[in-house]
Symmetry: C2
Subunit: 289 residues, 2 copies
């Protein structure tokens, strides 16, 4: 692992993930839109790059995790982007949750320039990033995947190759689709318990371990009950993901009524200025009516 690793995007997730690469003794070159977010890593020995183009010109492996698909497009595409400034044989790995079709486009363009691009979105949130227990779902060239696997292992635990370019993003969409409808069930179960005069915490004792059990019921329902709407995962980001999933399903001719309903309710929630809260704040729609 003597190569210089590039890392672009040092938000809540990226900062932790880049930190693990650095801790393992890799030399790291970082760029992020808000330079002050890089300070901690620079203090610990990372180099600063002034732009994605500089990162691309000086690194053989580049990880990115930015906010929205449009940010991915900015970082990868255009004259100052990663692809146009690629080193021969470089591997670009986008860990943002983004559009599957964009991932395919990036992989094609990168390959034409003599490199490989992987789409490798994650789940596990802030906690998973901090504890290096992320689930990483990877699409793209298999040999490229194998060659960067040691780096993935510094950041995650459940690392699965899903198939050709876009497959990582598609897999992440499956993850978000499964969560979306389940959030309705969790909120409605809790709201029903309250309305019926039960103690919702006692109800959770009965139902959490059985056929109604889910990660969200065990982890988010208690926060709903405490009125704790602090973000683990932002409403605004979940909406972005669901919108991509819905659009992608639509393009494939797949009907997803549960996802569509969840998305419409989350839009309502965002109209109440709750976009910066955690996804569990969906419960507000049920408790405030």
């Amino acid at each position: 692992m003597n190569k210089t690793i590039g890392f672009i995007g040092l938000g809540v997730m990226g900062k932790r993930m880049a930190g693990h690469l650095l801790n393992a003794g890799n030399s790291l070159r970082v760029y992020t839109r808000s330079a002050e977010k890089a300070r901690e890593l620079l203090d610990r020995g990372a180099d600063w790059a002034d732009s994605p183009a500089v990162v691309a010109r000086t690194c053989d492996i580049v990880f990115t995790i930015v906010g929205f698909p449009k940010d991915v497009e900015t970082v990868y595409c255009g004259e100052q982007g990663l692809i146009a400034n690629l080193r021969a044989g470089a591997i670009l790995i986008d860990m943002t949750t983004s559009r599957p079709d964009l991932a395919v486009r990036i992989a094609d363009a990168t390959q034409k320039r003599g490199g490989q691009a992987l789409d490798a979105p994650v789940s596990g949130g802030d906690k998973g990033a901090r504890e290096a227990t992320l689930s990483i779902m990877v699409g793209g060239n298999r040999a490229a995947f194998e060659s960067v696997l040691p780096f993935f292992k510094l950041m995650g635990r459940n690392i699965v190759y899903q198939g050709p370019p876009g497959s990582g993003q598609h897999c992440k969409m499956c993850n978000q689709i499964a969560i979306a409808s389940n959030m309705l069930g969790v909120c409605e179960a809790i709201a029903y318990a309250r309305k019926a005069g039960l103690d919702p915490a006692t109800v959770l004792k009965s139902i959490s371990a059985g056929a109604a059990g889910s990660w969200s019921l065990s982890n988010l329902a208690p926060r709903m009950l405490d009125g704790d709407f602090e973000p683990g995962f932002y409403v605004k980001h979940f909406i972005k993901d669901m919108a991509v999933a819905a659009e992608s399903a639509d393009a494939m001719g797949l009907r997803t009524p549960g996802l569509n309903l969840a998305l419409s309710l989350y839009h309502k929630l965002q109209e109440k200025n709750c976009g910066d809260e955690g996804t569990q704040s969906l419960y507000r729609l049920y408790s405030e009516t």
Copy 2:
């Protein structure tokens, strides 16, 4: 435990549950609509009763688990029912998943006749019944609950007192509500994976253990992929439960759009003559379009 225990309803669940009571050395008097379903228990030493009235007149504790709320009404109410023929001080325990308001009515009527009635629906299915690992959610008089707890412990593992009459049924409704919406998410995630050309089993490896994880995703999604629609839990019974939950939510002024959507999709499934399949057959709606 020297009392004679009555048991009414020897379907897939009841037969197993009554068997555990018998195995523990209790003397058991059984009644069920289709007498042939009692044979095994009679061979093992249970007594036959010709009607609910006979059971009521000769037992101090009576368990019931029948099909639908109307069956509960038949067994409990009317001149030949349990309540009209109650022994003084008897305890009636309905383990059917039934209407909370009916449970309240039965508890009131039973108390007026000098007894107590508990509503104690279960979750855990055939497997839970067989292995005595059911989750039992109990509403009704607390002292009555304590006095029959040793019997519950012969049938289940997670036994929780939820509150006054009807609370057990309300809790079970919370359970079904949480499952209902989640089933949409599970089906849509799997259907999306297939449409996107991923291997759904590999997708499950990525998503089952994280924030999208649920009992249904781990246990029912693999059956969907295998085209195995054999009933663990019947579509027709799930529809009954969801209909009760939706009606009850409506009566309380609670909006449950996720539940309503799930119910409407399961109705569609039943129109395709899938009522006797397992709840995972909801996937048919997504895979056959």
